[in-house]
């Protein structure tokens, strides 16, 4: 199995002390859908400028955790969260914190590419900035181009920025969605199985992009694909489902260790493909 250690270029650069932004702490997080507890008592620290992969069998609450982080979980009727998610010292679930603001700081890329069909490629990328109140077209033009370049999409779309975002291929659409989320300069990017709807070539391009984006963001990715977790992530957190069907964190640590020498038997069984 390929791990980070096999590919030296993937090692995360050590951040300069005192300049940390995007430090994310989950403290005793419980997530519920009405009375059903989907996530039990998860505490996890996420490092900035690193990719953390959340892995585990279906139904273990990985996606729910992701949606708890940017407060998308609560948009589902009856859903609620206990515990706290702390970003750079601020509890995102504090009463006076606005969920809308949180989502501008913590971007999200979804399983299925979801460009807005009524918007052009340009408008898709600009939409987040417009939400944040940016009106100057010079600023918008510059940031749209920079974001598309960053998402390695600029050369493919620069001549058709006015065409609908849905006219692109699946892989391009997903890169458009990544460009859209980085255009608002978030601190954290959450990716919920971003490659599960894509072909292998597109998947590779997205993975390269993630590794490239790691320099500036805290990236959290949910994936079913353990090779992917091994290829791109620095830290892996393994989740499983308890007897009460609630997902919980089994263990987390550097990806190389989780894949080569996990502490828990359950983790070993999963990463070696014996269950899940």
């Amino acid at each position: 199995m390929t791990t980070v250690t096999d590919r030296p270029g993937y090692a995360a650069p050590a951040p300069a002390p005192g300049t940390e932004a995007g430090v994310l702490d989950l403290r005793s997080v419980n997530a519920y859908y009405r009375t059903f507890r989907a996530v039990r008592d998860v505490s996890l620290s996420l490092r900035p400028r690193a990719i953390t992969a959340l892995i585990g069998p279906s139904g273990c609450g990985k996606s729910t955790i992701l949606r708890v982080i940017n407060r998308m979980h609560e948009t589902i009727p009856g859903a609620r969260v206990e515990g706290s998610v702390v970003l750079d010292g601020v509890d995102l679930y504090r009463r006076d914190v606005s969920a809308v603001r949180v989502r501008r700081t913590i971007g999200m890329v979804f399983q299925k590419p979801n460009p807005f069909p009524a918007m052009s490629i340009f408008e898709n990328v600009a939409s987040g900035m417009r939400l944040a109140g940016e009106k100057k077209s010079s600023v918008l033009d510059g940031r749209v181009e920079a974001s598309l370049r960053r998402a390695a999409l600029w050369d493919e779309v620069k001549d058709k920025l006015r065409q609908p975002g849905t006219s692109l291929s699946g892989g391009q659409q997903q890169r458009l969605c990544i460009a859209r989320s980085i255009a608002v300069e978030p601190e954290v990017i959450l990716m919920d199985e971003p490659c599960s709807a894509l072909d292998p070539v597109s998947t590779l391009r997205i993975e390269e992009l993630m590794v490239e984006l790691r320099q500036d963001y805290t990236i959290v990715i949910v994936t079913h694909n353990m090779q992917q977790a091994g290829r791109v992530s620095d830290v892996t957190a393994f989740f499983s489902m308890g007897d009460d069907r609630a997902g919980y964190l089994v263990e987390s640590g550097p990806t190389s260790r989780i894949f080569s020498a996990p502490t828990e038997k359950l983790t070993e069984d999963y990463v070696s493909g014996r269950f899940g």
Binding site: N70, M72, T75, V100, R101, V102, R103, R104, T105, G107, M108, F110, K112, P113, N114, P115, F116, P117, A118, M119, S127, G128, R130, L131, A132, P164, T166, S167, L168, Q173, C177, R180, S181, V184
Partner: protein, 331 residues
């Protein structure tokens, strides 16, 4: 031929010929339905032929008076002056009023039902809206005649006429002669009748906007309203437009309720607060006791105009729907 082989050949089994029979009978049914429309159109055109042949299409559509025995006030000479213009203007104006009121209202109701309302409330409200659609149009006509028209004449009609009426054409009122029988009242009656249609279509289209798109926008830090405005409504706009046009078609052809309140005066109204006449109301009021052959042909000619406009509108909606169907292919 071997018995076993025969069972496998096309004409061998009885099952297959029953299938063919059924397929053919459905084909006949489809052809009959199509023929009905063509036949209807042909008969209407044939019966109204004198109007098209003797007076011509353009004069018929643009003559602003309806007088089979027109007496020239100066010369005293009589002539035939049969024109569809008063009815066309009355029909279009009243339907536009209905649309301007029912369109935004219906879309807002649909947005509330899908996006904001708790599920149980939505079910109850949807039922209520569907009940409006079940009200016989003559009953809505009674409401227009005895409740709405009096209320509007005595309260806000003058206010509308003296504010909006100064800017938008056709909205001024004759202050000396306020009337309850007007194109405006007809339009409001139509609005009540087409609101359920706008709501029903918009609700379905809005609901069909995928959750993934809403979440994509919410996940970028958009409020509920911003997502509705920037993603949901734009994505659903073609479908909503289709629903609104379908409702417009319904308004164009509505007869009895309009006949009750529009005033039935064959004049080209210069204001919506004047009495007028719609195509359907003209046919309904006059067809029973018409004796003049030319006038009869004129009334049937009005029918042709209405039919062409309604069918044309419905074709446009179908074309729009096809475009809408392709909208999600790429996403």
């Amino acid at each position: 031929m071997d018995d076993r082989l025969r069972r496998l050949t096309r004409s061998g089994g009885r099952l297959l010929s029953a299938d063919a029979l059924f397929r053919r009978s459905t084909l006949v049914a489809v052809l009959a339905a199509g023929a009905l429309l063509v036949l209807l159109f042909a008969v209407l055109v044939a019966q109204s032929w004198p109007i098209w042949a003797d007076r011509g299409i353009v004069p018929f559509l643009t003559t602003p008076t309806w007088a089979p025995n027109y007496v020239d006030p100066v010369t005293g000479a009589t002539s035939v002056q049969i024109g569809a213009l008063p009815m066309i203007v009355g029909t279009v104006l009243s339907s536009i009023i209905g649309l301007v009121v029912a369109g935004p209202l219906g879309v807002l109701v649909a947005v509330f039902l899908v996006e904001y309302s708790p599920r149980r409330l939505a079910i109850g409200l949807t039922f209520l809206v569907e009940l409006i659609a079940a009200i016989p149009s003559v009953v809505i006509g009674i409401w227009g005649l005895y409740v709405f028209s009096i209320f509007s004449r005595d309260t806000f009609q003058w206010w509308i006429a003296s504010t909006i009426g100064r800017v938008i054409p056709f909205c001024a009122e004759d202050p000396a002669n306020p009337t309850r029988f007007s194109v405006f009242t007809a339009g409001m009656v139509l609005a009540v009748m087409i609101v359920p249609m706008v709501v029903a279509v918009s609700r379905e289209v809005i609901r069909s906007v995928p959750l993934s798109l809403r979440e994509g926008h919410t996940g970028m830090g958009a409020t509920r309203w911003e997502t509705i405005r920037h993603v949901v409504l734009p994505t659903a706009r073609i479908g909503i437009l289709g629903g609104v046009m379908l409702a417009f078609g319904r308004a164009l052809g509505e007869t009895i309720a309009v006949t009750m309140v529009i005033g039935n005066v064959d004049q080209v109204p210069t204001s919506v607060f004047q009495p007028g006449q719609s195509i359907a109301s003209k046919i309904a009021t006059n067809l029973g006791d018409v004796t003049d052959q030319v006038e009869l042909a004129g009334l049937l000619g009005l029918g042709v105009v209405l039919l062409v406009v309604s069918v044309g509108l419905s074709v446009i909606v179908r074309l729009l729907a096809r475009r809408l169907g392709g909208a999600y292919v790429a996403s």
